[in-house]
C-alpha cells in the first residue's frame, strides 16, 4: 500500500477528511519551502503537493504562475528539486505529491524522471495537461516505479469518462471544483456541489476524491467537505500567505493557517 493510500485509510479510521496543501518548490526560496513544509506538518496537513515550476503553466491562475516564475528565476530545476525532497524526507514521512506539466517529465524521459523522483521520496504525480488518452507510456513508467498517478476530472466530465480516468488513477482522484484556473476565489455555485456528489456516486468508494482549485479558506473548505469530498486541496492561498510573510514567520503562519483548515476536516 502506498503512503497516500495508507494516509487515507488512516484518516478514514479516525473519521477525518484529508487536508492537501500545495506549495511551489523554490518559492519564494528553497529555504522558505522547507519552512512551509514544517509549518504544514505542524498544522496537520495530511499530504503535501510540491509544485515544480514550468515556463508555461496553462492550467494555473496568476498566483501559481507568479510563484513558478519566481522559482524558475532563482534556478529551480530537477537537481535542486530532488535535493529539496531529500531534505524534507529526513524530517517527515508525510506523503509527497509532485505537481508539474507533462513536458518536464517528457524531456527527461518518463521512466527516468519517475524513477529518480520516486527514489528521492515522491509518492504521486499530478500533471494537469496529461490526458488519459495520451498516458500509456507515462502510466507504464509510473506502474513500474510504484508511483501513484493522480489524474484530474472536471465538473463537465461525463460519468463514463470519470470511470475511465479513475481506472488509471491511484492514491486519489482530483476534482477541479470550478470552471477556471487555480486560485480563483469566487463563491462556489451549485454546479460544484453537483459535481462532487456526481463524482462520489460514480466512483462508488473505489478511490478517494480530492477537490481543489479555488478553495482558499475554512468556510469554503467546509462547504466542499459537506458536499462529500474526501480531501480538500488548497494551493494559491498558501502561496499568497507565504508571499506576504517574512521568512522567519513562514513556519508559524503557514502552520496556523493549515491548522484552521485541518480543523474543518475533522468531522467528529
Amino acid at each position: 500500500m502506498s503512503r497516500i493510500e495508507n494516509k487515507f485509510k488512516d484518516l478514514r479510521s479516525k473519521n477525518q477528511k484529508a487536508l492537501i496543501a500545495y506549495i511551489m518548490a523554490g518559492f519564494p526560496s528553497e529555504k522558505d519551502t522547507l519552512s512551509a513544509v514544517r509549518g504544514l506538518v505542524r498544522g496537520g496537513a495530511d499530504i503535501i503537493e510540491l509544485g515544480m515550476p514550468f515556463s508555461d503553466p496553462l492550467a494555473d491562475g496568476p498566483v501559481i504562475q507568479n510563484a513558478g516564475f519566481q522559482a524558475l528565476q532563482k534556478g529551480m530545476n530537477l537537481e535542486k528539486f530532488l535535493g529539496l525532497v531529500k531534505k524534507i524526507r529526513k524530517e517527515t514521512d508525510i506523503p509527497l505529491v509532485l505537481m508539474t506539466y507533462t513536458n518536464i517529465l517528457f524531456r527527461h524521459g518518463y521512466a527516468k524522471f519517475i524513477s529518480i523522483v520516486k527514489n528521492a521520496g515522491i509518492d504521486g504525480l499530478i500533471l494537469p495537461d496529461m490526458s488519459i488518452n495520451e498516458s500509456k507510456d507515462f502510466l507504464q513508467a509510473a506502474k513500474k516505479n510504484k508511483m501513484d498517478t493522480i489524474f484530474l476530472i472536471s465538473p463537465n466530465t461525463s460519468q463514463d469518462r470519470i470511470k475511465k480516468i479513475a481506472g488509471s488513477s491511484s492514491g486519489f482522484l482530483y476534482l477541479v471544483s470550478v470552471f477556471g484556473t487555480t486560485g480563483g476565489q469566487q463563491q462556489f455555485q451549485n454546479y460544484t456541489t453537483d459535481a462532487i456528489k456526481n463524482a462520489k456516486k460514480t466512483l462508488g468508494g473505489k478511490i478517494p476524491l480530492g477537490v481543489g482549485f479555488g478553495v482558499s479558506n475554512p468556510e469554503q473548505a467546509k462547504f466542499i467537505i459537506k458536499s462529500g469530498a474526501d480531501a480538500i486541496i488548497v494551493g494559491s492561498a498558501f502561496l499568497r500567505l507565504m508571499e506576504s510573510t517574512s521568512p522567519e514567520k513562514i513556519e508559524s503562519k503557514i502552520g496556523s493557517f493549515a491548522a484552521s483548515l485541518k480543523k474543518v476536516t475533522i468531522t467528529e
Binding site: 514550468f54 515556463s55 508555461d56 503553466p57 496553462l58 492550467a59 491562475g61 504562475q65 516564475f69 524558475l72 530545476n77 530537477l78 506539466y101 507533462t102 513536458n103 518536464i104 517529465l105 517528457f106 524531456r107 527527461h108 494537469p128 495537461d129 496529461m130 490526458s131 488518452n133 495520451e134 489524474f151 484530474l152 476530472i153 472536471s154 465538473p155 463537465n156 466530465t157 461525463s158 469518462r161 480516468i165 477541479v176 470552471f179 477556471g180 484556473t181
Partner: protein
C-alpha cells in the same frame, strides 16, 4: 504520406491531445462538429461564398519577373495571399472556423495573435458573421504591431494585452486556453495556426489547403506541370502546411523557412525544426525550443508572427519523414528581402513572408531557368513598415 484525418490526431508520433480535463468535452464537441460539417455541401457552399465574395479568392499566382531576373535562375512565382481581405492568408481559416462556431451555436469567439494578422482576420470574420470577438496578444507584440491592435478595435473586437511570461505569441495562447477553461461552455476558441490539440492542426490545415489547391491548378495552366519547388515561411506553420499538403503526392520539392533571428548559434531565434527537440506544449507533441530541463525557451525574431517556440505537429512529421526540408533565414536576410521585393516588384511583403522570399532568391540562383519556384507570400507588409524602420536605424547605429 498524406495523412487526411490521422487517428487520434497523431502524425506519426507527433500531435495528440495533451490538455486539461476541463476542455476535453469542448475539444471533443469541436471534433464532432468538424467531422459533421467538413464535407457538408451547404457548409462548403457558404464557406466558398465568403472566400470568394468577401475575402477575394482565388488569389493570383504572379510571375515575379524582376525578382526572377535579379536572382538569375529559376522562375519565381508569388502566391499572392497578401491580396486577401485583411492582407494575409489568415482569413481562409477564420472564415472556416467562424462558420463552424456559428453552427455550434457559440457566439463568443476568443483567439490569440502574434503579429496581429490572425487577430485582425478573426475580428473581420466575427464582424461579418455577427459574432463577439476577443483577442489575446502578447504585450510586447501589441507594442511592435500597434496598427493591428487599432484595426482589431475598429473591427469591433476586444484586445487583451498579455503581460505574463515572454509577452509574445506563446503567452497569448496560454492566456486564451485559460480563458477557454474558464468559459468553456459559451466560448469557441478560434486557433490561428496549425498547432494545438487535435483536431486543430488538421482543421486549420484543411482550411488553409485552398492555397496549395489553387497553386496546383494555376501552375498546371501556366507551366503545364506542378511546381518544381515551393517555399513558405513557418512559425506555427499554417500558410506552409496549406501550401504543402495538397502537393505532398506531387513531384515537388518543398521548403519550410523558419526565423533564424540573430543566427541559430546565437540562441536568439525561433527556428524550432532546425534547432529544436521533441516535447509537449499547447496540447501537442511536436518539436520545441526548450532547455535541457524542459522549460520553453525565449524565442526571437524580427517578425512577431514567427516568434513561437513550437510548430505544427504535421511539420514535425514531414521533417522526420524527410518530405519537406526546413531551414532558417535570419533577421538581416529577411529585412533585406523585405526591401528587395518592395523595390523590385512594388510589393511590400510581411516580414514573415520575407523569410520565404529571401530563401527562394538564394535557391533560384542555383536552379536552371527552365524550373520554377512558387513562394507563398502569406501576407502584406504594411504592418511591418515601422518595425523595419526601427531595425534599420538600430543596425545603422550599431555599425557606426
Amino acid at each position: 504520406m498524406k495523412l487526411r484525418y490521422p487517428k487520434n490526431g497523431r502524425f506519426g508520433e507527433f500531435g495528440g491531445r495533451y490538455i486539461p480535463e476541463t476542455i476535453v468535452p469542448a475539444v471533443e464537441e469541436l471534433e464532432q462538429a468538424y467531422l459533421k460539417y467538413k464535407d457538408n455541401a451547404e457548409f462548403k457552399k457558404e464557406l466558398h461564398y465568403y472566400l470568394t465574395q468577401y475575402a477575394g479568392r482565388p488569389t493570383p499566382l504572379y510571375l515575379a519577373k524582376n525578382l526572377t531576373k535579379f536572382a538569375g535562375g529559376a522562375k519565381i512565382y508569388l502566391k499572392r495571399e497578401d491580396l486577401l481581405h485583411g492582407g494575409a492568408h489568415k482569413i481562409n481559416n477564420t472564415l472556416g472556423q467562424a462558420l463552424l462556431a456559428k453552427r455550434m451555436k457559440k457566439k463568443r469567439i476568443i483567439a490569440e495573435t502574434g503579429a496581429g494578422q490572425h487577430g485582425v482576420a478573426t475580428a473581420m470574420a466575427c464582424a461579418a458573421l455577427g459574432l463577439d470577438g476577443e483577442v489575446y496578444m502578447g504585450y510586447k507584440d501589441t507594442q511592435r504591431q500597434k496598427l493591428n491592435v487599432f484595426r482589431m478595435n475598429l473591427l469591433g473586437s476586444k484586445v487583451h494585452p498579455v503581460k505574463e511570461g515572454t509577452q509574445t505569441l506563446k503567452d497569448a495562447i496560454n492566456e486564451a486556453i485559460r480563458d477557454w477553461i474558464t468559459n468553456v461552455k459559451s466560448t469557441y476558441y478560434l486557433l490561428g495556426s496549425a498547432v494545438g490539440p487535435h483536431p486543430y492542426p488538421v482543421m486549420v490545415r484543411d482550411f488553409q489547403s485552398v492555397i496549395g489547391d489553387e497553386i496546383l491548378v494555376q501552375m498546371k495552366k501556366l507551366e503545364k506541370k506542378s511546381p518544381d519547388s515551393v517555399v513558405a515561411c513557418v512559425g506555427g506553420g499554417s500558410n506552409a502546411i496549406g501550401t504543402f499538403y495538397p502537393l505532398i503526392d506531387e513531384d515537388t520539392k518543398m521548403f519550410g523557412v523558419e526565423a533564424g533571428g540573430e543566427g541559430i548559434k546565437s540562441g536568439h531565434h525561433s527556428a524550432t525544426l532546425v534547432g529544436g527537440s521533441k516535447g509537449v506544449l499547447h496540447g501537442m507533441m511536436t518539436y520545441l525550443l526548450q532547455d535541457k530541463e524542459g522549460q520553453i525557451s525565449e524565442t526571437h525574431s524580427v517578425s512577431a508572427g514567427l516568434d513561437y517556440p513550437g510548430v505544427g505537429p504535421e511539420h514535425s512529421y514531414l521533417k522526420d519523414a524527410k518530405r519537406v526540408k526546413y531551414d532558417a533565414v535570419n533577421d538581416k536576410e529577411a529585412v533585406e528581402a523585405f526591401l528587395l521585393l518592395s523595390k523590385q516588384e512594388g510589393i511590400i511583403p510581411a516580414l514573415e513572408s520575407a523569410h520565404a522570399i529571401a530563401y527562394a532568391v538564394k535557391m533560384a540562383r542555383n536552379m536552371p531557368k527552365s524550373e520554377s519556384i512558387v513562394v507563398t507570400l502569406s501576407g502584406r507588409g504594411d504592418k511591418d513598415v515601422e518595425e523595419v524602420g526601427r531595425y534599420l536605424s538600430k543596425n545603422v547605429k550599431n555599425r557606426k
